[in-house]
């Protein structure tokens, strides 16, 4: 697999997926509970929705992480990647992106956890 074109935008791919997943989860839950008007309303649909978007989000983060792993060069060289070369710059960006994907994976998983446990709007 060849390394792809570099961009600073790609660095924030993981956190952007986290942010989108977070907002969607919150909006779905908040709107459902506000509109149902019933404090004991069952959250079945919301939990299913959150589960689906979580799977999609984690998939996207893993995809971005693998892409970054490739740009890093499969860890062939250890950090700090502080040489004055395009290769080291690419490795740095790949490594940083991969780390951010790792953080985003954990954070997305955390956000999904309440939907696993909480069953009503109360």
């Amino acid at each position: 697999m060849p390394a792809s074109r570099d961009s600073l935008w790609f660095l924030i791919a993981g956190p952007t997926v986290w942010a989108t997943h977070f907002l969607l989860s919150y909006v779905v839950g908040a709107v459902y509970c506000a509109k149902s008007g019933d404090i004991d309303a069952n959250l079945g649909t919301v939990r299913l929705t959150v589960a689906i978007i979580t799977v999609i989000a984690l998939g996207l983060i893993v995809h971005a992480g693998l892409h970054a792993y490739r740009n890093w060069g499969f860890g062939a060289e250890d950090p700090p990647h502080d040489d004055d070369t395009r290769t080291d710059r690419r490795r740095f960006l790949g490594y940083a992106t991969m780390l951010l994907c790792g953080l985003s994976f954990v954070a997305t998983f955390y956000v999904a956890l309440p939907a696993l446990i909480i069953t009503s709007c109360r």
């Binding site: 942010a19 709107v31 502080d82 004055d84 710059r89 951010l100 953080l103 309440p114």
Partner: protein
């Protein structure tokens, strides 16, 4: 890239002296009163820092008044009304006039040198920001001397604060004074983002950038998403106070919770907007004193970027007690826990660097140690209050006061003090006293802990925040007395520090160059420093060039790198590419002027006169402000150079003028419009927030219907298309078609803007009646005011074309205006969908 060895003219000392003389003249500040016309970031940075510190001392005195009042039970040192004003102003000033501006101040002060640049790309914008900050700050602080300070708490919760009778003019002063300061913050964000991305020295690839720049890049980006929701909230808030539009009035469909959302979408990221730049100072100080490169550079970048994102997922943890559904609380609790990961990562990286290096114990390191100790305690209580059930217990108690002070003083104040000790020689050429520094540190460190640690217990014993006094026998007496003693001890430490900074030191010799033996570019500065930033713009090959590149300082000093001269008598710096810092332009930056000061004061007039309901004066001030800004843009931006390109040294020739996405102006417009879109999104959020809580929002047969908004949108979208075509016609050399198209565009825009207003006007929508017409009115006013701005821009380009300032080759202005119009098109389409189509769907 070792092409510095044989630049032969630089071998002649007389030649170098002549170059230095020319540079000195070009970058000199004015004399006498003209000194205040300076726009150079090195000057503005010093004013900014000193002013922010003055506000810090003022807010500190207010803190002592609070602690004096609470020292003993049933105290009547302050009346309840004065006490309310004192604690509100203490929080407000510390947040808005110290913690946020100090990072802007320090950044514009040290970033140019740290990036090896002569200056950041928009020095006049920094000057505008500074004068706005000064005026707004004095206005807000001064209010307490007239008994007119805000008194509703620093987060100004309605409905108490929207009640004009109860809150008096103080709430208006808070809203309008601080909105003005938020404008200064957004100006700084634009300057910092473009400065970091485009004004690095050749060779400073993104992996070689100082960590301070990484942090600041993240923080400046955060400002674009955090501040605009507050600005939107301020607009709704003031419309309720001045015009009785019921956004937060439940009796007419409003909801105070909306304010809490908008405030905390700003308010929580803001904590990190304060924390990250302060910790960025630590990231610069630690390697210097550990005598080794930072451990885990990439991990710290992860921490900075990760924290920047996650901090937005925390806002509802300030609203855990408002009765939101548990599932919502769960999401925010989870994100609040997750943010501990990147925060911890950076602390571990600092500790690892210290462990791996040979640490030299100096005063800045002492403050860094204090930072780590205090911040970790604040972080731990942060994890506690991130859990909803614990938060319900501790909510609005002194436990929270203790937690937030541990976080803010540990995470921001101590690093800032460390930074002052570290960077003082950089600014003033002399070191601060080691002895006084240590004394001040121990007084502050011990005083702080004595003051705030007991508050955890005071809070757990049930003492609520913001109470003016308390009865005896609740077990709070001793704890409060200890806190007060600690606060005064802390204040004495601050005084020692202030004396050390202010004491006369004319007889002291200057510090040696690079006094801490640091590795980054800002320490190239001579003692005392010169106004030109760097003598020549270097080629960078390492994260710590002063440590790693042989003869680096000598080569810079002898002008053996880029731009060693100012032959044309212009202020110049270099623009490079984002990832690899390859040179792409020699940028001319504008020089000293009073116009930015005038623009800031006139803009301030709009806000200040509105506070007192002097609407005519506000309007006049606004018109003059607009005139000043147009003059500033006309004289100081998109200047046509006398030649297309220039030899910048080392055999490199760079263009003097680039337009479109390559130009810094285009990026400034793009970044400003991102902020504008965030504010717009916040108003749209308000609309849908009301939709979730009301069954009849929008009401059946909601005005203004579809027809009028559709016609208005069609006119505006045509204007967008015409503006895009105009840019192409201009490029093709057809100036006549260009001007005609833009004039037609302006007429269409006027029609579109008026059409949007016409809808609710003719449908009899009375905004004060209920929240639905009020929200629609806000949206149409938003579109119409942006249309008005669009017209000014279109006509500005026509005028530029007539004056020969805007040609087919030199077309920065029309590129920027056409970019504005892309965002205008989005605003139009979204508003149409919300006010015309959404009612049909529901």
């Amino acid at each position: 890239m070792n092409n510095t060895a044989h630049a032969s003219p630089q071998d002649d000392p007389a030649h170098r002296r002549a170059q230095a003389e020319r540079l000195k003249q070009v970058w000199a500040s004015g004399k006498g009163f003209r000194y205040w016309s300076a726009v150079n970031n090195s000057e503005i940075g010093v004013w900014y820092t000193v002013t922010a510190f003055a506000f810090f001392l003022f807010a500190g005195v207010l803190a002592l008044l609070i602690r004096t009042q609470l020292a003993v039970p049933e105290n009547d040192f302050l009346s309840a009304e004065v006490y309310n004003q004192v604690f509100t102003l203490h929080g407000t000033v510390m947040m808005f006039l110290f913690a946020i501006p100090i990072f802007e101040a320090v950044s514009i002060l040290i970033l140019p040198e740290m990036l090896g640049a002569r200056d950041l790309p928009f020095p006049r914008l920094s000057a505008f920001g500074y004068w706005s900050f000064l005026l707004g700050g004095v206005f807000v602080c001064g209010s307490i001397f007239f008994g007119a300070a805000p008194s509703g708490g620093w987060f100004m919760y309605p409905p108490l604060t929207t009640d004009v009778e109860q809150s008096g003019i103080g709430a208006d002063i808070w809203m309008l004074g601080l909105s003005f300061i938020e404008v200064a913050s957004i100006a700084a964000a634009v300057e910092i983002i473009i400065g970091i991305l485009k004004c690095r020295p050749p060779g400073m690839r993104i992996n070689l950038m100082p960590l301070y720049s990484w942090y600041l890049l993240v923080v400046a980006a955060m400002i674009l998403f955090a501040f605009p929701p507050l600005i939107a909230g301020d607009i709704l808030f003031e419309m309720e106070r001045l015009l009785d539009w019921p956004f937060f009035d439940p009796a007419r469909g409003g909801d105070p919770i909306l304010w809490q959302h908008l405030f905390w979408i700003f308010g929580h990221p803001e904590v990190y907007i304060i924390f990250l730049p302060a910790i960025a100072l630590v990231a610069m100080i630690v390697p210097t004193f550990a005598r080794r490169p930072i451990v885990g550079y990439t991990w710290i970048v992860l921490a900075a970027v990760g924290t920047g994102f996650l901090s937005f997922g925390l806002w509802v943890h300030h609203m855990f007690a408002t009765g939101l559904p548990a599932i919502s609380l769960g999401f925010f609790s989870a994100a609040s826990e997750a943010v501990a990961i990147p925060t911890g990562v950076q602390i571990f990286c600092f500790l690892a660097t210290l462990l791996a290096g040979r640490v030299i114990y100096c005063v800045p390191m002492l403050y860094v140690s204090g930072t780590l100790a205090i911040f970790v305690i604040g972080g731990l209580t942060g994890v506690m209050v991130a859990l909803a059930p614990f938060d319900w217990q501790a909510h609005d108690s002194y436990f929270i006061v203790a937690h937030l002070h541990y976080v803010l003083i540990g995470g921001a104040l101590f690093p800032i003090f460390a930074g002052v000790y570290y960077f003082f020689p950089f600014v003033r050429g002399r070191k601060l006293s080691d002895k006084l520094g240590k004394l001040a540190f121990w007084l502050m460190f011990v005083g702080f802990n004595v003051s705030f640690f007991p508050m955890h217990f005071t809070g757990l014993l049930g003492m609520p925040r913001r109470v003016v006094t308390y009865p005896q026998r609740l077990g709070w007496e001793w704890l409060n007395l200890i806190s007060t003693v600690g606060a005064f001890m802390f204040a004495i430490g601050v005084l020692v520090f202030v004396w050390d900074v202010l004491r006369p030191r004319r007889r002291e010799p200057y510090a040696q160059r690079n006094p801490w033996n640091a590795g980054t570019l800002e320490w190239l500065t001579e003692m005392p420093g010169a106004d030109w930033g760097v003598r020549s713009i270097p080629i960078v090959e390492s994260r710590y060039p002063l440590w790693d590149q042989p003869d680096f300082v000598k080569n810079v000093d002898e002008g053996r790198f880029y731009l060693p001269d100012a032959e044309e008598g212009k202020r110049e710096t270099m623009v490079t590419s984002v990832l690899d810092a390859t040179p792409i332009q020699c940028l001319r930056v504008p020089g000293n002027t009073f116009i930015t000061m005038a623009a800031a004061f006139l803009t301030g007039g709009v806000f200040i006169f509105t506070t007192f309901h002097w609407y005519l004066a506000a309007l006049v001030s606004g018109v003059f402000a607009l005139g000043a800004i147009v003059k500033w843009l006309w004289d100081g931006t998109a200047m046509v150079p006398e030649k297309p390109d220039k030899d910048v040294g080392l055999g490199l020739t760079l263009p003097l003028y680039v337009s479109g996405p390559k130009s810094v102006g285009w990026w400034a417009m793009f970044i400003t419009m991102i902020g504008d879109m965030t504010a717009f999104a916040s108003v749209v959020f308000a609309y849908f927030f009301y939709w979730t809580i009301h069954d009849d929002f929008p009401p059946p047969d909601a005005a203004p219907g579809v027809t009028l908004p559709l016609i208005a949108s069609a006119l505006l979208m045509t204007s967008w298309g015409v503006t895009q075509m105009a840019r192409r016609w201009n490029r093709a050399g057809n100036a006549k078609a260009f001007r005609l198209a833009l004039i037609a565009g302006a007429v269409l825009t006027a029609g579109g803007g008026a059409g949007y207003i016409w809808g609710p006007l003719t449908s009899g929508m009375v905004a004060a009646k209920s929240v639905y017409p009020a929200t629609v009115w806000v949206l149409v006013i938003w579109v119409a005011s942006h249309a008005a701005l669009g017209i000014i821009m279109q006509l500005y380009c026509v005028a530029g074309s007539w004056a020969g300032k805007l040609t087919n080759e030199y077309d920065i202005d029309i590129w920027n205006v056409s970019l504005y119009w892309h965002f205008m098109a989005i605003t139009t389409v979204v508003t149409f969908a919300v006010i015309a189509l959404f009612p049909l769907v529901t």
